[in-house]
């Protein structure tokens, strides 16, 4: 059995959970995004970011959780250098359900994964270990991250294998991005620990996993390790193990007997926050359309094939582009262009950040294709240029001449050249007309995709005599 604890930063918020410092701490020099509150200076008090409560509640609602009547905060007390107050302000269902959500579920490929609890808490600072050798090792602390709003999502141990874990995380990550609460592709924005047990054996917690890719590996390793112990009748210990990124194995870090007692107490500096049904309903209404509803709409309203609709809806970047670029008449073409021509150009976070493309580019290009002024191939080339430079479609058309060549005379000359150069292919085409596409391709290549494919085919057939 496998269960997960996922930490997700609310990266889309303006400020930290309890102070006005920036939630986006990534662009700062070390320890420059701090104030008396997030540094826990003597006398400072936390000031709850109400937007964080709203966004976290949206996550709870999206994961079909129950939301409490009021939420409260607790202090989790432990000493660690990345923790400015030596306690973390978090949530706990000590006096009944008071954390942001509980008892939810989401479906992954027909299987329900239950969500035990969702809580809102502050991220600690970051420790940076400098110097490789054990002897010269020093630790640097950067508090820029301290106080960043974090949502912890705890699942029930409902996963049967690492593959389900990967599927779940991918769906969850799409869901969080679609909600507009987080950008899971930012480094460190989404982290997960796993609890693994086999055959009702003790629970082993794996921490320190840096990527979802490694998480799958770590779980796989852990299952194998436990099964191997079990088969040799060696007892499995209830413990916390750390994932060793270099050796790709889990290592015991402490047994549960020595587990820390966090001495939870109520955070008296933050009064209970009453969540009346009006606010909840208002937030629910403000939630962006869910991925599944988008997909459904793309299929039924526009007749977009299910597979294309799936790709389009599950990626917020694509669906946002689509929503802004499409009209009832061009929707299918826009969807097509995004999921085939554009996809490879903007498949990473860096490429997306650098891309100069806007929705208008897409609708204009599609318009040119359907009016027969530009070929699909030319449009694809234009996209490349647009992503790079952001030039308008008309600029590109006039500059590099994407206009379609449909002039029979002009095409005829080019086709004559190709026919002369490719006698073997011509012979083949005569024997097997299917292979004529090779020659069409050659013409396209020669014209940089500008040749009108239908006219080209007609002339070719005529010239070869088939």
């Amino acid at each position: 059995m496998i269960g997960l604890e996922i930490h997700c930063q609310l990266t889309k918020l303006e400020s930290k959970l309890f102070c006005p410092c920036k939630a986006n701490y990534r662009d700062f020099q070390p320890n420059a995004n701090v104030c008396p509150i997030c540094m826990g200076l003597p006398g400072s008090l936390p000031r709850l970011n109400q937007k964080a409560v709203e966004k976290a509640t949206m996550i709870a609602l999206a994961l079909n959780c129950q939301t409490p009547k009021k939420i409260g905060f607790f202090r989790k007390n432990y000493f660690y250098p990345d923790l400015p107050k030596n306690f973390q302000i978090t949530q706990l269902n000590l006096y009944g359900p008071t954390s942001i959500g509980e008892k939810g579920k989401i479906s992954i490929g027909g299987k329900d994964i239950r969500i035990r609890r969702i809580q809102l808490e502050e991220d600690p600072g970051r420790l940076i270990y400098e110097g490789a050798s054990e002897r010269t090792q020093i630790t640097l602390v950067d508090y820029n991250r301290a106080g960043t709003p974090l949502v912890e999502i705890v699942t029930e141990p409902d996963f049967e294998n690492p593959r389900q874990v990967r599927l779940f995380l991918s769906i969850l990550s799409d869901l969080l991005e679609n909600l507009g609460v987080s950008d899971p592709t930012l480094e460190g924005a989404m982290r997960a620990d796993a609890n693994v047990s086999i055959k009702d054996g003790p629970r082993v917690e794996i921490k320190n996993i840096n990527s979802f890719y490694d998480l799958e590996k770590a779980i796989h390793f852990e299952i194998t390790r436990q099964e191997s112990l079990h088969s040799r009748e060696i007892p499995i210990l209830q413990e916390t193990r750390h994932w060793d990124d270099k050796r790709k194995i889990t290592i015991s870090s402490r047994t549960k007997e020595e587990d820390e007692d966090y001495r939870y107490i109520l955070e008296g500096d933050i009064p209970w926050v009453v969540l009346d049904s009006q606010s909840i309903e208002k937030w629910r209404k403000n939630m962006p359309e869910s991925i599944s509803s988008k997909k459904e709409r793309y299929i039924t309203d526009y007749g977009i094939p299910a597979q294309v609709a799936d790709v389009l809806s599950s990626d917020k970047y694509y669906s946002d582009l689509f929503e802004q670029a499409h009209s009832k008449s061009n929707a299918k073409e826009i969807a097509n262009m995004i999921t085939t021509d554009l996809m490879g150009l903007v498949d990473t976070r860096e490429k997306r950040e650098q891309s100069k493309l806007n929705p208008k580019h897409l609708s204009e290009l599609v318009e040119l294709i359907s009016s027969g002024k530009v070929t699909r191939t030319s449009a694809k080339n234009a996209l490349q240029e647009i992503v790079k430079t952001g030039k308008t479609v008309s600029e590109i058309v006039s500059q590099i001449g994407l206009g379609k060549i449909s002039d029979k005379l002009e095409l005829g000359k080019i086709i004559d050249e190709i026919v002369n150069q490719e006698p073997t292919a011509v012979q083949q085409a005569k024997d097997n007309p299917q292979t004529i596409n090779y020659l069409v391709g050659k013409v396209m290549q020669k014209t940089k995709g500008k040749a009108d494919p239908a006219i080209t085919l007609g002339i070719l057939k005529e010239k070869i005599g088939i």
Binding site: G40, G43, L45, R263, I265
Partner: protein, 482 residues
């Protein structure tokens, strides 16, 4: 002009040109240099005080807009942050800590042209009732320097009592304003929880403590409260008081009011006979003012000391854990330590009472014991609150001696922490229930002050100050024997 003026008199005198701010501040500084070596009310003095006084005089002369305090010298307990100066909490742990920001109350005072004359002594991190636990040496009671001034805001009370300033701000977690006010024969108020912002007050037990004003007169305390109370976005527990004017109609009297004498606080073995007698004279004084006086029993008062020490130590354990000397504190070479051993090394600079309470604070909320201690204490707290709510259905005020005993000599109680903790029994209830309470000087017995405590219902400070003012009018007390 005498240094013994009330705040109201001071303001009138400056307004009328009878004195300059510079003259008064200079005299105050003289008084400090003359007496404070012995009394040790201050841990640090504002070196720019005279400059600030001159600036204020200039503003007054030029007819510029001037704040309500007209350059009045006010001292602040050294667990309240004042930007740019040291805030030590009388602890070696924070010996080198310079606050980079002003507490909300401090910026409010500054905005009203108060001159923050200095930072006052306290029991380390406000844990104590005598100032004997200050890491920088105790303050002395100006009424008799062999005696403790009370605490933890002892330095504040001494500074006001010994004419080393006109008014002061302290903090009250279990009586830390009212106790030294009583021992030093001045007025001290613990406001309703949430009435005054705690932003910038170094937390000890954050769920029950409040910043409170000291003055030699009830009306001075009302004036201070006027300017420090109210909603603050930096403290989410604060309450909007709609800028209530506590000075207005302070002389309304208490004719027809119903006063309850809290039985559990006004009799029994722990109560000094002289204090008891003085208290009943105060009760008669209230009757002579036209109020009715009856007994009221609050059963749970007997459990308040235990409850208080469980709750406060649990919160203190958490609040003080940030002092690990990594980000600020005192000078310590941390090279070569593994983190856990570094932490225990760095935290050795806490004093004995803080260590005692931190150990308790680690224990009472710990797994397996929380149910027996912390959660039980929280239950008592909420039941006590119910008793108080019921009592205020019948009474306008609840009264008791502020402290069941007379001021005592140095060292008398430090050997026996439990006896010291019992001195808090009359003051703790107001903190556990959030209601306001004030200590008013009533008598001097054999040269030692006795104060009377009045409680009012939540946010009834206006009524409370009227009652305190009325009682003050029945007394005629000698000046401090300096």
């Amino acid at each position: 002009m005498s240094l013994a003026v009330s705040a109201i008199e001071y303001i009138d005198n400056v307004k009328n040109g009878n004195t300059t701010v510079e003259d008064f501040v200079a005299k105050t500084l003289e008084q400090i240099s003359k007496h404070d070596t012995k009394l040790h009310a201050y841990l640090s003095i504002n070196e720019n005080a005279l400059d600030q006084a001159r600036q204020t005089d200039k503003k007054i002369k030029a007819g510029e807009k001037i704040g309500a305090f007209y350059g009045m010298p006010i001292s602040v307990k050294d667990n309240i942050c004042v930007k740019g100066g040291k805030t030590t909490c009388a602890s070696k742990m924070l010996e080198g800590f310079v606050a980079p920001y002003d507490a909300t109350v401090v910026s409010k005072l500054k905005n009203q042209d108060a001159i923050l004359i200095g930072k006052t002594n306290l029991d380390e991190f406000a844990m104590g009732a005598t100032t004997e636990y200050s890491a920088f040496g105790p303050s002395r009671n100006p009424w008799n320097t062999e005696y403790v001034p009370g605490g933890s805001s002892g330095g504040s009370a001494v500074s006001v009592s010994a004419l080393e300033c006109i008014a002061s701000l302290g903090s009250d977690t279990g009586g830390s304003v009212r106790n030294p006010a009583s021992f030093c024969s001045i007025v001290g108020l613990k406001p309703t929880y949430g009435l005054v912002s705690r932003y910038g007050l170094v937390s000890y037990a954050n769920s029950i403590e409040q910043i409170g004003p000291f003055g030699r007169r009830v009306e001075d305390v009302a004036l201070l409260l006027n300017h420090i109370a109210g909603k603050d976005q930096n403290d989410s527990t604060t309450i909007d008081n709609h800028s209530q004017d506590y000075l207005d109609k302070i002389d309304a009297g208490i004719q027809g009011k119903k006063i309850g004498v809290i039985s559990e606080m006004s009799k029994g073995d722990g109560l000094d006979k002289n204090v008891e007698n003085a208290f009943w004279r105060a009760a008669s004084a209230f009757e002579s003012l036209g109020a009715s006086v009856d007994q009221v029993s609050l059963d749970l008062v007997q459990h308040t000391v235990a409850t208080y020490y469980v709750l406060t130590t649990a919160e203190a354990g958490s609040n003080l854990s940030r002092y690990d000397n990594l980000r600020y504190g005192y000078s310590l070479d941390l090279e070569g330590y593994e983190f856990k051993s570094y932490i225990s090394k760095a935290r050795r600079n806490f004093g004995p009472e803080v260590i005692r309470r931190m150990i308790l604070g680690g224990f009472v909320p710990s797994a397996g014991f929380a149910g027996k201690y912390l959660l039980k204490a929280l239950k008592v707290k909420s039941k006590l609150k119910k008793e108080i709510v019921d009592a205020f259905k019948k009474f306008d005020f609840l009264i008791s001696p502020t402290v069941p005993i007379l001021p005592f000599k140095f060292g008398e109680k430090t050997e026996d922490p439990l006896a010291m903790y019992l001195a808090d029994i009359n003051t703790i209830t107001a903190n556990l229930t959030g209601i306001p309470a004030i200590s008013v000087p009533f008598e001097i017995h054999d040269g030692l002050p006795i104060g009377i405590q009045i409680h009012a219902n939540m946010l009834q400070e206006k009524l409370l100050l009227q009652a305190a003012y009325a009682l003050q009018g029945t007394t005629k007390l000698p000046g401090v024997p300096l």
